[in-house]
Assembly symmetry: C2
Homo-oligomer: 450 residues x 2
């Protein structure tokens, strides 16, 4: 038989039949509650009747002289389910009210009663909110048992969607927490660096005034402006790169359960973010434009900062082996920080210090240098930790260092290659020599068996 | 013929033959240099003879009245390669010296000349170090061309090992840098939070004195000590958990190129590390022991902090979809920070404030609360950013919130369940109510279409 016709005939036989809150619907709900394993389990200790008021009161309820629905609930079963009368409100202690639309939403779409309570769609006229929220599981089972008007046609949204963001095999729980089982080793080198970071690394780039820097900028020759912009564009990308690329390393350290090291690296990362902010502010507020600032990034610079550095670090996502960690740290700490950045700071000084130019920029660079000295110290300590445990990697690590030093010196060549005469009297020879000395200082601290 | 016998016969014919630095070996080297494509390419501009001195001088060189080896190098070729005499030192401008052992290492194992120069095994007696380092590629090609004494028997260590930590397909380069191409958006909500973090989030847990806390601790009853230790052990693991579990989220934000957000989250992460330090210090310096501190972690606590939280966040490693991000942030920011931590702080106050106990602990908790308010503000902003772009996820997100609120209230039950009478007059009802209110405040800020 045509279902529409069936409905029509039923409606003729009994005009309530087919209405969502008809008497037969109420009885169906009661039976369904009593068949629900979930309800009998979760509501085993619940012995309080519920009154569900409909506000504003729909005509249907008015026609029954009713204000809503009454459920008597005992030890995980529903002993009575009927239309509520206004007297029920006085004589019972848990009374909930909602609009018909909200009740429909609750009953039909598996929406959650606690949330409705919290967002005000469901109002607790009488009773303890905490009590209800604590029994949210039972309340949900109660509502889930309600027969839907449209029967099987409404998909069970709840079942299908409660897995939001959770539709994959779970993984990576914590076995234990270091601080709980053994505390923190405050005497360890990383914790000592962390103590320093909390004192010397809390400077605020936004506090630095660029007022004189701006007027100095205006008084510079076009060539001088170019070299300042050139160097700043290298630092801008460089600081952003290290802010991004440190993340895989900190993750590996965390996964290895080295909580003291992770704690230190959080300060390291925060400082890199501030360095990025510092150069961004300088470029935006002093140079005031960054039209194609990456035109200053030559092939060797791009090779290192756009490719080798992010690749050396992101390789840790898939491979935490000591060799991969060594490449990551050597690229990041020895070359980018320990050789190139250090040389770059010196370039700013050479250009600006003698003529007392751009005091804001120089002040920031001084702070940056302090921060970097801790980053490099951690990097060398990390490399030594790995080298000590992996003597077999020493020869290949030396080859890697050489490869990276070549990358660094190529970048310095590339910078000077753009100028016939470099403004501020900068000389390539001096900078190459300075970079190599920086590198040498770092290398002397490594525990390599030669 | 047996190779050993061949060598023996050769040795009989000419006693130099077979010695590493024999005259025929030198000629072989020269031929090999002139066949090297790598050398002809990299040394095309090099026109300076090299003197390689052996110090101390081996008998073999003495017997030749020689101090080492002379190489005349022109435009990528070697025009002469012979024993050097002492006069060569005076008349040439690049003179290198090393022990026989170091020269052997350099010539045989593909070790790198630049590193030998930097670590002092190779000494530059005359000439510019920078010049040599700049031509490291040419120098390496020169050495690589040297015929090895043991011929093919020595594996080419260099080729095999220079790939340290690099034996996988490269991936994830940077396409561009935000700060270079468009600067930073200082007006964005995350950058404004970052500005606040740099002012209010730089407190140092190590500056807080626990002197009075220690004497207060001694004067507490055993029951009072138990509840303080109980709560602190929940915070200890909780702060360590969030310090560890934030990492996958910050990575996702960075990969999505949201540099302003990443910059803010670095301060967030740094603050969590300081919170971990704070509770670790408190437990170590006041309670002075953490014997089985995890005995306070009940099944519901463990479910959330040992499993659901790390899993919700680490799921981002494999799936950055909006649904997974929503689960991560709801679990981390709405429930762990916004509901449970807030309620825990209140518990410390309820216990300690009235009797002016443990001022150090309270001072730290006050600072923590300030930090957390920024963390929660970011979390809500992030959730709203995702909800606005993904309206289809609203219904399932509401279900998730309810699931998580149930997790939170279960944990509060579980805590109070351990006590017949809770010290300091704490009441479960009050805390459940407080937790739900906290949650409700967060929920009211979400842009959910109901
Ligand atoms: Fe930096
Ligand atoms: Fe750095
Ligand atoms: Fe925290
Ligand atoms: Fe937090």
């Amino acid at each position: 038989m045509n279902p529409f016709k069936e409905y029509f005939i039923k409606g003729q036989q009994n005009k309530d039949e087919g209405h969502l809150f008809s008497d037969s619907w109420l009885q169906e709900w009661r039976k369904s509650i009593n068949k629900s394993e979930s309800y009998s389990k979760q509501a085993a200790a619940w012995n309080i009747p519920l009154i569900l008021l409909f506000k504003p009161l729909p005509d249907f309820f008015k026609s029954k002289n009713s204000v809503g629905i009454y459920l008597d609930l005992r030890s995980g079963t529903c002993t009575e389910l009927r239309y509520a009368v206004s007297d029920d409100i006085e004589t019972n202690c848990v009374v909930l009210s909602a609009s018909e639309k909200s009740w429909l939403q609750l009953l039909q779409s598996g929406k959650n009663p606690t949330l409705f309570l919290l967002n005000g769609k469901l109002k607790l006229e009488k009773g303890s909110k905490t009590l209800l929220v604590s029994n949210a599981g039972a309340a949900k089972a109660l509502l889930d048992a309600a027969p839907s008007n449209s029967g099987d046609q409404i998909p069970n949204v709840s079942e299908q969607e409660s897995n939001i963001g959770n539709n994959r095999p779970t993984s990576e729980p914590h076995e234990r927490f270091s601080t709980v089982t053994k505390g923190l080793d405050f005497e360890s080198f990383p914790m000592k660096l962390f103590q320093k970071a909390k004192i010397y690394g809390v400077w605020n780039p936004s506090d630095i005034s660029f007022e004189k820097d701006r007027s100095d900028w205006k008084n510079m020759s076009a060539d001088e402006q170019t070299i300042i912009m050139h160097l700043s564009s290298l630092f801008l990308a460089g600081e952003e790169a290290v802010t991004l690329d440190l993340l895989p390393l900190i993750r590996v350290i965390a996964k290895e359960g080295r909580i003291e090291e992770e704690i230190y690296i959080t300060s390291f990362l925060w400082e890199e973010a501030k360095h990025t902010e510092f150069f961004a502010r300088f470029v935006m507020e002093v140079i005031k434009t960054q039209p194609d600032a990456d035109r200053f990034h030559g092939p060797f610079y791009k090779k290192l900062f756009y490719e080798k550095l992010p690749q050396a670090l992101s390789a840790l996502d898939h491979d935490r082996s000591p060799a991969v960690q060594l490449r990551a740290s050597a690229t990041y700490n020895m070359i980018v920080e320990g050789t190139l950045a250090e040389t770059g700071y010196e370039a700013y000084y050479k250009m600006l210090d003698d003529h007392d130019l751009m005091p804001g920029l120089r002040e920031g660079v001084l702070k940056l240098k302090q921060d970097e000295s801790r980053h490099i110290a951690y990097g060398l300590w990390l490399i030594n930790r790995i080298l000590e445990e992996n003597e077999d990697l020493h020869p290949s690590f030396e080859n890697l260092l050489d490869e990276l030093l070549t990358d660094a010196t190529n970048i310095i060549h590339e910078i000077f290659d753009r100028y016939d005469t470099v403004p501020f009297g900068l000389e390539e020879e001096w900078f190459l020599d300075y970079a190599i000395k920086q590198f040498q200082h770092r290398m002397e601290k490594l525990k390599l068996n030669n």
